[in-house]
C-alpha cells in the first residue's frame, strides 16, 4: 500500500481533512455555543462571555478554512459536487458566520445604543451557523438527496449539532467563568447534554435504516465487535459528564475541565463513527476518495508543508491558550 502514493496519499489527506474538521467542530463548537448561550446572560455578563472566546474565535474558524481548503485542494471534484448540492445552506451559513464574526467587533465599538442589537445578531448568527452545519451534516448522511424525509432528517441533525455546540459552549463557560454565570452555564450544559445524546441516539438508529450499505458496515461480524464500543463509550462518557455536572459548580473548580473534555470526547467518537461509516466514500455512495483525489505530485507538496507547519500551528495555538488561561474575568482588553 505504501509503495503507491496514488493509494496512500488520498487516505492521508482524508485523515488530515477529518482531523481538521474534528478540531474545527470542537473549537468553533465552543465559541458558537457561547454565542448561542448569550441570552442566558445579563448584558453586563455578556462582556465576560465574549471575553472568554475573544482571543480564540478567529483561529478556531481558520480550521474551517483549512477543512474546506483541504477538501478543495485534495478532492476538488468532491468539493464541487458537495458544495454545489449544499449551495443554499452553505450561503445561509456563510452569511450567519459573517454576521456573528463582525458582531464581536461592532458590539464593542459601535454606539452603545446599538450594543444590544449586535448582541442579538451575535446570538442569531451563532445559532443559524450551528443549525446550517447540522442540516448539511444530515443531508450528507442521507447521500446528498433532497426529499421530504431527508430534509426532516436534516432538521433533526440541525437541532442535534446546535445542542452539541451549546454543550461545548456551556462546558467552556464552566471553565472560564465563576459565580452566577457559571451556575447558569451548568444548568444549560445538563439540558444540552440530554438533547445532544437523544439526537445522537436518533441519528444512530435512523442512519443504518436508510442506508443499506451502512447497515452492512455496522451489523456484520466482525465489524460490529470493533464498532460497538464507540456508542457504548460515548454514552459512558455522557454519564460521567452528567455526574460531574451534578457536582458543579464546585467551589475550588475541581474537575471543572471534565465536562468540556468529556463533551469533546463524545464529539470525537461520533465523528469516528461517521468517518468509519462513509470510508472510502467522500461523496456518499457516489465518489471515493481515490477517484476524487488530485494528482499525487501536488498532494505530496501540500503534505510535506502540512507535516512541517501543522506542529508549529499546534505549538503557537498552545502558547495562546496558555497565555489566556484562567477565568475570563481576569482578561484585560488591551
Amino acid at each position: 500500500m505504501f509503495d503507491n502514493p496514488a493509494v496512500w496519499l488520498p487516505v492521508a489527506f482524508a485523515a488530515l481533512m477529518g482531523l481538521s474538521i474534528l478540531i474545527y467542530v470542537i473549537l468553533d463548537g465552543y465559541d458558537l455555543g457561547v454565542g448561542i448561550l448569550i441570552p442566558i446572560a445579563r448584558p453586563e455578563e455578556r462582556d465576560r462571555m465574549i471575553a472568554s472566546i475573544g482571543p480564540f474565535w478567529d483561529a478556531n474558524e481558520t480550521w474551517l478554512v483549512l477543512s474546506v481548503g483541504l477538501l478543495l485542494v485534495a478532492f476538488p471534484v468532491a468539493h464541487g459536487i458537495i458544495l454545489s448540492t449544499l449551495y443554499l445552506p452553505v450561503a445561509v451559513m456563510l452569511i450567519a458566520l459573517i454576521m456573528r464574526g463582525v458582531a464581536f467587533e461592532f458590539r464593542a465599538k459601535a454606539e452603545p445604543a446599538w450594543k444590544a442589537t449586535w448582541d442579538r445578531i451575535f446570538f442569531a448568527g451563532s445559532l443559524i451557523t450551528a443549525l446550517a452545519q447540522g442540516y448539511m451534516l444530515g443531508l450528507y448522511v442521507m447521500g446528498l438527496d433532497r426529499s421530504l424525509a431527508t430534509v426532516g432528517f436534516g432538521a433533526i441533525t440541525a437541532v442535534c449539532v446546535a445542542a452539541g455546540y451549546t454543550l461545548m459552549g456551556a462546558t467552556w463557560l464552566i471553565i472560564k467563568t465563576d459565580g452566577d454565570l457559571q451556575r447558569r452555564a451548568v444548568r444549560r450544559a445538563r439540558v444540552a447534554l440530554v438533547v445532544t445524546m437523544v439526537g445522537f441516539a436518533v441519528i444512530s438508529i435512523v442512519t443504518p435504516l436508510v442506508s443499506p450499505r451502512i447497515f452492512g458496515r455496522w451489523f456484520s461480524v466482525p465489524e460490529i465487535l470493533i464498532l460497538s464500543p464507540l456508542p457504548l463509550v460515548a454514552f459512558a462518557l455522557a454519564a460521567a459528564v452528567w455526574v460531574v455536572l451534578s457536582n458543579q459548580p464546585h467551589g475550588q473548580d475541581r474537575f471543572a475541565w471534565v465536562p468540556f473534555a468529556g463533551s469533546a470526547g463524545i464529539f470525537t467518537l461520533a465523528f469516528l463513527g461517521l468517518a468509519y461509516s462513509f470510508y472510502p466514500f467522500i461523496v456518499p455512495d457516489r465518489l471515493t476518495i481515490y477517484a476524487a483525489a488530485s494528482a499525487p505530485e501536488s498532494l505530496m507538496i501540500i503534505l510535506v508543508g502540512a507535516l512541517v507547519v501543522v506542529p508549529v500551528i499546534v505549538a503557537y495555538s498552545a502558547l495562546s491558550y496558555w497565555v489566556f488561561r484562567g477565568k475570563a474575568t481576569d482578561l484585560r482588553y488591551d
Binding site: 462582556d47 482571543p55 478543495l72 485534495a74 454545489s84 450561503a91 464574526g101 508543508g305 503557537y316 495562546s320
Partner: protein
C-alpha cells in the same frame, strides 16, 4: 439571466468586499509595528495612543477580512467547480500554503496582540505584532502568486485536459507576479496612509489636536507622499509587463482598436464595441505610444487583432481611468499636504477637509485597478488555459440570484456600519477619558472598548 454572468457578479461582489479589508490590514499591520517601535525607542506615550487607536481599527478590519475570506474559500467550489477540477493541481497547493503558513499565524497572534498587552512581556507583544503584519503580507504573497499565475501561467503541462504542475519555482515566480505583488503592496500602503491621514484630519478638524493625532496625521501624509511616486513607477512597469503578456488587455485599457504607431493617450472616450470605434475622443497626441513604447513612433496593439478574444472594452477602459485619476489626485494632495505640514506644522482647514474626503480613496483606486486586471483577463479564467464559461457551476440562475441579493444586502449594511464606526471611533478618540464604554470602567476608555 445567464448563470455565468450571475456567478461572476456574485464572485466579484464577494471578492470586492473582501479585498477592502486586507488592503487595509496588510499595511496597517506594519504601521502598528512602526508605532510600537517608535514608542520603544522614544518612550513617548503619544505613540502608544496612536497604536491603541489604530489597533482597534485593525481589529475591526481584520474581522471583516476573515469572515468575508471564509466566503471566498467556499465559493471556489460553489461558483467555479471547473476551476479546481482543471487547475486544482496548481491552485490547490498555493491556497493550502496560504492557509497553513499565513492564516493560522495571523489569527493566533492577533489574539495575543489584541488581548495580551498586559498578559505577556513587552517583547512578546511586539513580536506578536510583527508576526501578524508578516502573516498578512505572506497571505498577500500566496494569493497574488495564484492570481498572477492565472494571468501569466507558466511551469505546468496539460495531461488529459487537466493541468499538472511541472516546475514550482516557475509557477511561483511567474512573469507578472513581482509586478503585481509590488503594485498591490504599494496600493495597500497608500490606502492605509490616506485612511490614517483622513481620520486624523477629521479629528484635527474637530479640535482634537493632541500630539498623538498630529503624529498620526504627519505619518499618513508623509507615507502617502513617499509611496505615490513609487506606485506610479510600479504601475508603469506592471503595464509594460501586461503589454508583453496580455496585449489585448492593454489595448482595452487604452481604448485602441487598430494596431499602429503614434497612438494618442485618451483622456476621455466612449468605446463602442458595436461599431468597434470610440466616440467623443479627447486625447494627447502620441501619448499612448510614448508611455507604452517610450517612443512617439511606437506601435501599440489594437483590439481588432483579437476579435472574439478580448475583454469587454468599456469597463476596462473606464476602470483604468478611475484608477489613474485617483493616483494623480493622491500625488497632488499628498505632496501639497506634506509641503504645508512641513512649512506650517498644521494643515490648512481646507487641506484637512480634502484629506477627509480622500479617506477611502485608496479603496476606490484598488477596486478600479483590480477590475482593470480581472475584467481584462476575460474571456479567460486562466489565460489561454481555461475559459470562465467552462468553469461555472450548474447551480440554477435563480438560486445564484437569490443568494447574490442576500450577500449584497449584507455587504452594504456592513460597509455602512464599518465606515460609521471608524468615524465614531475618531470622535470618541477625541475625549477618551469621558466616554462610557461599558460595565467595567478602565482608566483608558479605548482599552475597555476593545
Amino acid at each position: 439571466m445567464d448563470p455565468t454572468v450571475l456567478a461572476r457578479i456574485q464572485f466579484a461582489a464577494n471578492i470586492s468586499f473582501h479585498i477592502l479589508f486586507p488592503t487595509i490590514t496588510i499595511a496597517l499591520g506594519w504601521a502598528l509595528v512602526f508605532f510600537k517601535l517608535r514608542y520603544r525607542a522614544t518612550k513617548d506615550l503619544k505613540w502608544m495612543d496612536v497604536y491603541h487607536f489604530w489597533v482597534k481599527i485593525f481589529a475591526l478590519s481584520f474581522a471583516l477580512g476573515v469572515v468575508s475570506g471564509i466566503t471566498m474559500s467556499f465559493q471556489f467550489g460553489t461558483n467555479w467547480p471547473g476551476f479546481m477540477e482543471r487547475v486544482g493541481n496548481v491552485a490547490g497547493p498555493l491556497l493550502a500554503y496560504e492557509v497553513l503558513t499565513a492564516f493560522f499565524l495571523e489569527a493566533v497572534f492577533l489574539g495575543i496582540m489584541l488581548f495580551g498587552f498586559r498578559k505577556v512581556p513587552g517583547w512578546l507583544h511586539t513580536l506578536a505584532t510583527v508576526l501578524v503584519a508578516s502573516a498578512t503580507t505572506l497571505s498577500a504573497f500566496w494569493i497574488i502568486v495564484l492570481n498572477s499565475w492565472m494571468h501569466t501561467p507558466t511551469g505546468f503541462e496539460i495531461r488529459d485536459g487537466v493541468v499538472h504542475a511541472k516546475d514550482w519555482l516557475a509557477i511561483i515566480f511567474n512573469p507578472s507576479m513581482p509586478y503585481r505583488l509590488t503594485h498591490m503592496l504599494l496600493a495597500s500602503g497608500l490606502t492605509t496612509a490616506f485612511l490614517i491621514a483622513g481620520l486624523s484630519a477629521y479629528r484635527w478638524l474637530r479640535d482634537d489636536r493632541s500630539p498623538a493625532v498630529m503624529s498620526a496625521l504627519r505619518f499618513g501624509v508623509v507615507v502617502a507622499a513617499i509611496l505615490i511616486p513609487l506606485q506610479i513607477l510600479a504601475g508603469d512597469m506592471h503595464g509594460l509587463n501586461t503589454l508583453e503578456h496580455q496585449p489585448q488587455k492593454v489595448a482595452a485599457m487604452e481604448g485602441n482598436w487598430e494596431t499602429g504607431p503614434n497612438k494618442p493617450l485618451l483622456l476621455f472616450a466612449w468605446p463602442d464595441e458595436a461599431t468597434r470605434s470610440n466616440r467623443f475622443e479627447i486625447g494627447v497626441p502620441n501619448g499612448a505610444s510614448l508611455i507604452l513604447k517610450h517612443d512617439a513612433e511606437g506601435v501599440v496593439p489594437g483590439l481588432n487583432d483579437f476579435r472574439g478574444q478580448h475583454p469587454p472594452v468599456a469597463p476596462v477602459f473606464f476602470a483604468f481611468r478611475i484608477m489613474v485619476g485617483i493616483g494623480m489626485l493622491m500625488l497632488v494632495v499628498s505632496w501639497a499636504a506634506a509641503w504645508w505640514l512641513w512649512r506650517r506644522g498644521e494643515p490648512h482647514p481646507w487641506l484637512a477637509r480634502v484629506l477627509v474626503g480622500m479617506t477611502f480613496s485608496g479603496w476606490l483606486a484598488t477596486l478600479a485597478g483590480w477590475y482593470v486586471t480581472e475584467i481584462g483577463r476575460q474571456p479567460w479564467l486562466v489565460a489561454g488555459v481555461l475559459r470562465t464559461s467552462d468553469a461555472v457551476s450548474a447551480v440554477p440562475a435563480g438560486m445564484i440570484g437569490a443568494t447574490l441579493a442576500a450577500y449584497l444586502v449584507t455587504y452594504v449594511l456592513l460597509l455602512a456600519a464599518y465606515v460609521a464606526t471608524l468615524f465614531l471611533l475618531a470622535r470618541k478618540g477625541a475625549k477618551p477619558q469621558t466616554i462610557e464604554t461599558g460595565p467595567t470602567p478602565h482608566p483608558n476608555a479605548f482599552v475597555a472598548a476593545e
